[in-house]
């Protein structure tokens, strides 16, 4: 039973990370129809920043990693995606796939292929005892972090003028422009917010592993993208829930499948994805046809 609660907490925190990552993809997709594969490289950049600047103290390192993530996210928009406004979602996916490959090779050249290590957030690496159940401190922190980010984001989207503009643009970009919402401002905002979320994902993953290589973000973004699509990438809640589901399922499969089978856990998740897409092409949480047929 204790073991079950332990794995449950881990799975919730695993789901929370992927939920955030999927949400960061969904934020951008809602506005410009880009499923950004290169989101992984934004996570990697933030993680490298944490590793290289951790000895300066967390109060410098963490803000710096957020700045780097937001800057890279905006840079991608201005150099690449802003020039591809008329492209289809599939072409945008290929472009971001290429950008991801490109940035990984840049990281390889700058920081070599070997992983860089630093004791980032080592205070969080211990476990605490709650009524006989040993719980990873990091899992608790992750859940709290994800919860507060979500709360903040929801408040921002629902209460602030900019947030409402973003929601309007995500619902119907053309009409939003007609009523005077500045396209470039909203697009820039979505990229910046998605950079902030990427930095949060990077922080948690870096504490977890303590080591960052050029393809650090790739497995995270693959699962997040898959989660966003099966949840329904067209809606923020769909992307979030799908990401959470995939993260929760992979973590549970890893703790409960025997070793021989747990090697294949991603294969099970991918197989499930194909099935979900077959029956609900626009995502589990989306009613009707959504983006699927375009």
């Amino acid at each position: 039973m204790n073991q079950f609660i332990q794995s449950l907490v881990d799975a919730i925190s695993g789901g929370a990370i992927l939920g955030l990552a999927a949400l960061s993809i969904g934020l951008v997709f809602g506005v410009i129809r880009l499923a950004n594969f290169a989101q992984g490289e934004i996570i990697t950049a933030a993680a490298y920043t944490l590793i290289f600047t951790w000895q300066l103290g967390w109060f410098i390192s963490i803000p710096l990693s957020i700045v780097v993530a937001v800057a890279l996210s905006l840079l991608m928009e201005f150099t690449v995606f802003s020039r591809m406004r008329t492209a289809t979602p599939a072409t945008l996916l290929i472009a971001s796939f290429g950008l991801s490959f490109l940035l990984q090779r840049v990281y390889e050249m700058l920081f070599t292929n070997t992983v860089q290590t630093a004791p980032v957030g080592s205070a969080l690496a211990q476990s605490i005892d709650v009524g006989g159940v040993r719980i990873q401190m990091l899992s608790v922190v992750t859940i709290i972090l994800a919860g507060s980010l979500l709360y903040g984001l929801t408040l921002f989207l629902a209460k602030s003028s900019l947030g409402l503009q973003l929601q309007a643009a995500a619902a119907d970009f053309q009409t939003a422009r007609l009523i005077g919402i500045s396209a470039s401002r909203v697009i820039g905002l979505s990229f910046a917010l998605s950079g902030v979320l990427a930095a949060a994902v990077a922080f948690v993953s870096t504490v977890q592993t303590g080591a960052v290589g050029p393809s650090f973000g790739v497995p995270i973004v693959i699962l997040a993208l898959v989660g966003a699509v099966i949840g329904g990438i067209d809606k923020l809640s769909g992307a979030l829930a799908g990401g959470f589901l995939v993260g929760f399922a992979t973590s549970m499969l890893a703790s409960w499948l025997p070793q021989d089978f747990s090697n294949f856990r991603d294969a099970y998740v991918f197989g499930l994805v194909i099935l979900v897409l077959l029956f609900r092409p626009s995502g589990l949480l989306i009613r009707g046809r959504g983006v699927a047929r375009t």
């Binding site: 599939a90 290429g98 490959f101 090779r105 194909i274 897409l277």
Partner: protein
């Protein structure tokens, strides 16, 4: 009379036009191979890899170009084709000692390499056929993600399932050295001919119609899904053959070699040439490979006069990535702009009623 003559002339031109585009592509591949045979040994190995990639790109074009549906999954068919050829051509004794966890019956199955390559193609096609009812209903982003998931499943199964290959982290070795450049070239020419023939078939024509306007095509009674299944399976066979040739060229197999990176490179070749035409696939693969070889030479250092010009290690893949992204931004229809090579010595043909356009 003259009207009839001009009509028959036009129809002759209509028939010969596509044949010319086929012949020019075959000549192009032949000439590149011929030119290469005068150069060094290492360049010949690189060209052999380039021709294998060319076949993969042709397979990709047969599906993506014809249907307009994105596939990240074709490398999965390449991988199973390569695996099949590896298992069928490695000596039984070697398999017993190196791949000891395998199903026992796999130790003794053997086939001559040429037969093995075709079996590899069949296995690739079979996998495509099995998964196609699931994948072919999807479009756009969903198709991209689902085919990507297929690649993920296959890569992981080949990496970890030691009953059909090496244990994870190890590679399959001992694949015989039987394939030379000339034979690879014939396979590449064969793949181009098959893709060209496929373009003229009914399913391919229906799929191109559906690509341009899916709703109109469905309204005209085209069952898009079943036509796509045909295209996916045939291109899966070609990709499986390419995988077999990859195994015989590389002679060491690891699931990681047949994953995201190869997907990226072959897609970049297709985008560079132009997805919508066979000429695009062939020209894209060749141009990309020539650039790649040039960058490899530059990495080693090239003498220009009294200077040695060289680029640092690691710049090569960055330039290749820039090519893909740059083309998607500035020329998304590729070098060929989605057209086939046409007969250059005649004025542009007037559009004739009832005559299908030749550019497809």
């Amino acid at each position: 009379m003259s009207e009839i003559l001009s009509k028959s002339k036009a129809s002759l031109r209509w028939r010969l036009g596509p044949l010319w585009s086929l012949a020019s592509l075959l000549m192009l591949v032949y000439l590149v191979t011929l030119a290469n045979s005068f150069m060094g040994e290492s360049l010949q190995v690189q060209l052999q890899f380039a021709l294998v990639n060319l076949i993969i790109v042709v397979a990709l074009q047969m599906f993506i170009g014809t249907t307009g549906v994105l596939s990240f999954g074709h490398i999965a068919f390449v991988a199973v084709g390569a695996w099949t050829v590896g298992l069928l051509t490695i000596e039984p004794d070697l398999k017993r000692s190196l791949l000891s966890d395998m199903f026992p019956f796999l130790f003794d199955v053997q086939a001559p390499w040429l037969v093995a390559v075709f079996i590899g193609g069949l296995v690739g096609g079979l996998l495509a056929l099995i998964v196609s009812p699931f994948l072919m209903r999807l479009n756009g982003l969903q198709a991209g993600i689902a085919t990507f998931a297929l690649l993920g499943v296959v890569t992981q199964v080949l990496t970890y399932w030691s009953s059909i290959g090496p244990r994870s982290g190890q590679s399959m070795v001992g694949i015989p050295d039987v394939l030379n450049l000339q034979t690879t070239m014939f396979f590449a020419l064969g793949a181009i001919v098959i893709a060209w023939l496929f373009q003229r078939t009914r399913p391919a024509r229906l799929l191109r119609a559906a690509r341009e306007d899916g709703i109109a095509a469905a309204a005209s009674g085209i069952n898009v899904v079943s036509q796509r299944i045909i295209a996916f399976t045939i291109s899966g066979i070609v990709a499986g053959v390419a995988g077999g040739l990859f195994a015989l060229t590389n002679r060491v197999l690891q699931a990681q070699q047949l994953g995201i990176e190869l997907t990226f490179i072959t897609l970049a070749m297709l985008v560079l040439g132009g997805m919508l035409s066979l000429s695009g696939a062939v020209i894209g693969a060749l141009v990309f490979s020539v650039i790649d070889v040039g960058l490899v030479q530059l990495q080693a250092g090239v003498d220009i006069g009294s200077f040695v010009v060289s680029i640092p290690q690691g710049v090569r893949p960055i330039i290749l990535g820039l090519i893909l992204v740059g083309f998607l931004i500035f020329r998304p229809s590729g070098l060929t702009r989605g057209r086939e090579i046409v007969w250059p010595f005649r004025p542009q043909r007037q559009a004739l009623p009832g005559v299908p356009p030749e550019n497809e």
